[in-house]
Symmetry: C2
Subunit: 245 residues, 2 copies
Amino acid sequence: MSDELSSDQNHSAKGPPPRSDEAKVAPKAVVNRLSLYLRELQRIEQSGKETVSSSQLGKLLGFTDAQVRKDLAYFGQFGHPGVGYRCAELVAAIRRILGTDREWVVAIVGVGNLGRALLGYKGFRPQGFRVAAAFDSDPSKVGMSFGGVAVEPTTALETTVRERGVTLGLIATAAEAAQETADRLVSAGVVGILNFAPMTLSLPPGVSLVGVDLATELEQLSFSVANSQAAVATEQSDPGPGVAR
Amino acid sequence: MSDELSSDQNHSAKGPPPRSDEAKVAPKAVVNRLSLYLRELQRIEQSGKETVSSSQLGKLLGFTDAQVRKDLAYFGQFGHPGVGYRCAELVAAIRRILGTDREWVVAIVGVGNLGRALLGYKGFRPQGFRVAAAFDSDPSKVGMSFGGVAVEPTTALETTVRERGVTLGLIATAAEAAQETADRLVSAGVVGILNFAPMTLSLPPGVSLVGVDLATELEQLSFSVANSQAAVATEQSDPGPGVAR
DNA sequence: CCTTGTGAACGACTTCACAGCC
DNA sequence: GGCTGTGAAGTCGTTCACAAGG
């Protein structure tokens, strides 16, 4: 399957300007940068500044001012000419766009080194993600608690996920168990999966997937170094230019 | 993106087609997929298959056959018409391209939950990355050992990095310490950094950076779910631009 | 002045479609 | 028959540059 869906139609013949209101789905690269903007804005807000201009924000992240404005403009008009963007306002707007203005209940499957790190990670809560359950098939881990979450046997996955209203699943199992874990999470009602297992998953339409493979990330770095593509990429996705000089 | 290195400047006015030979640097998106192809190929090889066609490989990952062929063609001719690609051959070629046909020596700074997970991660070694050092500023952690690597005080960073020939640094510190850590790694000779701290880093030109922010990844998932952009992409991160200078 | 929002130009990436080879 | 490599066409994303607002 291809990644995008065919969601929106496009078919303007030629003559009249296609006036499609609304519905212009945002490029993935844009959404990626949105997270970066949010992170930076929260830091700026913390420092007491009330507003930022697109060029200031851009400079902090290595983007052009035009890029910043264009990105934000995909979702509405948040700026104030002559002033810039008010941090608090923009932070709220971006969180709304990303869907993190509400709380997402997440479950972690696989309590190995990585699963434990995720259970103990302090950065999720403030961004709207609450880890409410953890599962592992190893009986010796069941009953232990990490980051305030008790480990349950994998057999309890479906019932616990349903009972606690878990909507996102985080897979930190071995590659071999990843697909089955995904299937079970989906059947229990999870609508999005963040996969850390070095394995390609296939999911039914309607379920979102984001994958993070640690070895793969290092490979990207290796290539980058081997080709001296300096550049600075701070996060994921997006091709961006910018080398600096 | 400026994938170009600074080597050549561009400035063709208009007239004659710019004839840049050679030097067509691969799109970053392509390099990203290369890692995915590699992972899949290794699995296929393991299963005993000798060859794969672009359409088979594409189907496994959710890409079109043309995409797979085009991606590989950026780097040379690896296929055999009528046959497909020989797995072993292609695996070797991709590793060479990514630069993982040799061993990279890496160091991890910050031995918190995440740092320990990275130290214990079994997936690095087989892909060409050897973790040779770990540092933490907390004296109570110094001397402990994880994944066979002893934790050293951060004060030893420069000397140890140099002595062991570390070339890549992995930052798993708190956001506040990330920039200073990066600066020290760079000054000790590291040429690439994989940053897990939720913080934008700025590095001198010539040093590569890849960033992974766990909260950010979840935000992408959140957006995806909120917009039902199903998608099955097993990708992981990717680049971002960055500041430099 | 400053800064945003945006059409239009530009360039980057992807898909198509087919010639050539097994 | 099956399959790759690749120009050509098309789509998508970024940069430019400027009108309009505080």
